[in-house]
Amino acid sequence: MPLLSVEDLRVELATRGGMVPVVDALSLHVEPGETLSIVGESGSGKSMTALAIMGLLPRIGHIAKGRILFEGQDLTQMEDSALRDIRGNQIGMIFQEPMTSLNPVYTVGEQIAEVLRRHQGLSQTDAWSRAIELLDAVHIPNSRRRAATYPHEMSGGQRQRVMIAMALACQPKILIADEPTTALDVTVQAEIFDLMRELSREMQTATILITHDMGVVAEMADRIVVMLKGEKVDGGRVHDLLQNPQHSYTKSLIASVPHLTSETLDTTARTDEHDTPLLRVRDLTVQFPVKKGFGKREMFTAVNGISFDIAKGKTLALVGESGSGKTTAALAVARLVDAQSGEITLDGTDVLALEGEALRRARAKVQVIFQDPYSSLNPRLRAGAIVSEPLDNLGTYPVTDRPARAAELFEQVGLTPDQMNLFPHQFSGGQRQRIGIARALATNPSLIICDEAVSALDVIIQAQILDLLKDLQRDLDLTYLFISHDLGVVQQMCDDVAVMYMGDIVERGTRNAVFADPKQDYTRRLLAAVPSIERAQHKLGLDQPI
């Protein structure tokens, strides 16, 4: 008998337009000790499935049909109080956002001990010492002391470890992990996965891992369920599915994962070293004042004297983890953040010397494509107005030509001009990112900064946007400064790579040099941490590449 089986589940949400099914006709089962992965893009119903199993559906949602059997008991028919005993005790859950899933006013030790007291009836002191053992188990160093710290005193990775400790406190039979590493850096993600693997082996816990990342699935899961628009479209053992995906959606999901290959890629003609670069950055330093107590200020160095060049028509990627200073450096180039010292020369212009009206005019030459397709467009403006905003303000086109130019931009990014009258919220995430790209192209800039431009998109959409960026670069001879934490994406997009760590560029070189033969330890660690289908295939003994 499987540990958990979901039979013909249908979950509906009450919206203004009536009852909307978000999960439909879903069946799956989990055997003791195995890892089942539910894969799908945002809105596919994968998180709703997890919440339905936990009995934690939002108030507007309910289970319309189907059964959820846990060790033979139907969870959908259970009283709330009985369900509470199972939840947290037999089925544990960890969430995506380690910043908000811990209570900020209690120490982490108290929060773990609380779970133990409630579910296992341990005494205060027993619960506390067990909490310390659990912190040890999730490899928090100095656990005795760290138990008495508050969540904000820990890093994101440590907080996620605490969440895992809490979820495993009662040795549940199943652990549900909903995108547990999406908010974390790639090296931290690798550590968390190692930990989850180790613990599930030791405690014989079955895991339901919910993710959008096929690479993660390939490395972690035993079996997969692929969901699309609330329905299961594919499923099976990882081995079979990777080798022989049935559904076309699964195929495109696997195909759109950026591949990290170690072999040397096609060597396009390198720029001559003696060419004057389009963008030349020397010793760029950016500091922020940080308040330290009353009236005291200290400077925090976000970017520490970095130098790089980009040749015209090329792409340089600045890669690094959160806090490495890559975005700050790029925004300093765009003069959206003030630099303390250094030199930035774009097309012969001293960028840092520009002031006032001259600076405003010069903004036409550097444009930015932002990360978040939801906050990067003004919700009060129509799409057409958003794209014409730089045209109107920088006046690079005569007034009479502007509507035609805006329409042309819409077509260039794969939208239609009749969509110009819609508001941003009427577009999908991918379409919104296209609007952002059209806006960046509007003034014919010499340099476009892509600040994590595809990080917030589903993987299939991400592949489409990357293709669009590459097409535009070829057609319009664009130069990109590409900021990303995702090495797979970087390898697809860029000619040169600069790896940033704690405000410094630690390694710089051509794509082939950095990916095939990294010189620095940090770069090697970064590369090793990327989940990859290839490595998983290797592990599974599959010979043919996908």
Partner: protein
Amino acid sequence: MSENTVIKARSPFAEAFGMFRRNHAAMAGLFMLFLIGGIAIFGPMIYPGNPFDMVWVPFTPPGQEGYLLGTDYLGRDLLSMLIHGARVTLTVGLAAAFVTVTIGITVGALAGFYRGWVEEILMRLTEFFQVLPTLLFSMVIVALFGASLLMITIAIGLVSWPAVARITRAEFLRIRELEYVKAARAGGVRDNRLIFGVILPNALPPIIVQAALMVGSAILFEAGLSFLGLTDPNVASWGQIIGSNRQYILDASYTVTVPGIAIFITVLAVSLVGDGLNDALNPKLRER
């Protein structure tokens, strides 16, 4: 998924209005406000006569001798005073709220947008006004510059803007870091348009709510000042009716109760509308 799942996208304004319309309390408040506004505008035409005319014996109880609400200590028709007073009271409420919002938005927007020393100075100024005893300070202004309606309005505005300034600044601090504002800067948008054209429209919802509630508290404030005698005796505001009759509160309580009820109903209506706006404009409260 089935075909009935198509969710029609509506403009943010239409969505907020739909939300507001489903809120029965808020709609009732809006209805009361329309009624009071109608009385203020058309009342004097339907019930003509100078409210300051001494028409009958003082202290005629309500309903007697054809005077629906009775007469006050000088024998003036209370109903007539109440109808004419509606205009004055509503005008003071709206004008004071306008002054409040104008000062508050300007200070809050500049502080939140420019940060640095501009923010330091403006926020210290805001705190200065916030710690002043409001009633006392407005009494001083009215006492110094004369008890005209204009002065009272300005006085109310001067003591109540800090709340609006703080809300505006908080919204500006949040919105100025959003990517579309950075995008607008990269697109060469000038500072004044960034403040008033890009950030302010997106910061408006909580400010509108505050402004609506401000109308109610301005009406109460005016009534308070009038009760203390700091008002123009030649203008019949509801507060002024209460103020001038307060000596007779024990002998003819209706002279104070009647305008009191009118103030109560108006402020209640404004608050209901303000709460409704808050629910409708605050996306976090949606779909509850």
